[in-house]
Amino acid sequence: MKMSKIVRTQANFLYPFILIFGFYIIAHGHLTPGGGFQGGAVIATGIALIAVAYKYNDIKKWLKKTRLTATEGIGLLAFIITAICGFGTSFFYNWLANSGLLFGDRVPYGINPGYLNTGGVLPIMNLAVGIEVLGGLGVIIVYMLSYVKEVK
């Protein structure tokens, strides 16, 4: 299925903005509302926009199912490994918080402007879950598109 030229031009124009907005939500998950799941869903919406506007033969060169599945597996694996790294105290221990290392700055109590280099393992877990949701929801769209192409 291929939409009209108006829809395709709009999709080309909107796709990078949707991508940047999704990665913004993922990267600022520990400062503003949102997080991994919401940002991944927004990016998957961008993939769905391209998938609805174009034919499957046009997009299958750069939206491969194997790549999306690998992205999903890597995300889930990174999430579990980050949780296992806190085994010195307990599973899911926030071992990077207030440590001075990466994402390890201390947060002043109360209202503050929000510093990006804080949060401990939260930004890493946000990124992992975001990648996982992006791959999972994207591969469902691509699977459905490839099957619908064969029905017609």
Partner: protein, 101 residues
């Protein structure tokens, strides 16, 4: 007749939901405390997370620090459920394609 029955049952559900929203009664075993629509209940657990969250998990967003730090097992289950759902969808669609050939 059938449409009328559906309409009457939907009206009963709608009226009971409106009654619950306007007059929720006591909640959580504490009598005399009425919940108002749009004003959530305030508990000791909220105070703990609000006052200790910024120190313990070093993040401004208390919701994210609960989801990924305090209740991490919940998020692990959610991610596993999503993974299993995608696996099931892929298996079903692949089996359909093999049947067609």
């Amino acid at each position: 007749m059938r449409n009328a029955l559906v309409a009457i049952s939907l009206l009963i559900v709608f009226a009971s939901l409106v009654y619950i929203a306007v007059n929720p009664g006591d909640f959580g075993g504490q009598t005399g405390e009425h919940l108002v629509f749009g004003e959530p209940k305030h508990t000791d657990m909220d105070d703990y997370f609000i006052h200790h969250g910024q120190n313990q998990s070093a993040a401004n967003n208390i919701v994210t620090s609960i989801v990924f730090d305090y209740r991490g097992y919940d998020t692990l289950g959610e991610a596993s459920v999503l993974f299993a759902a995608v696996l099931g969808a892929g298996l079903v669609l692949r089996a359909l394609r093999r049947d067609k050939k």
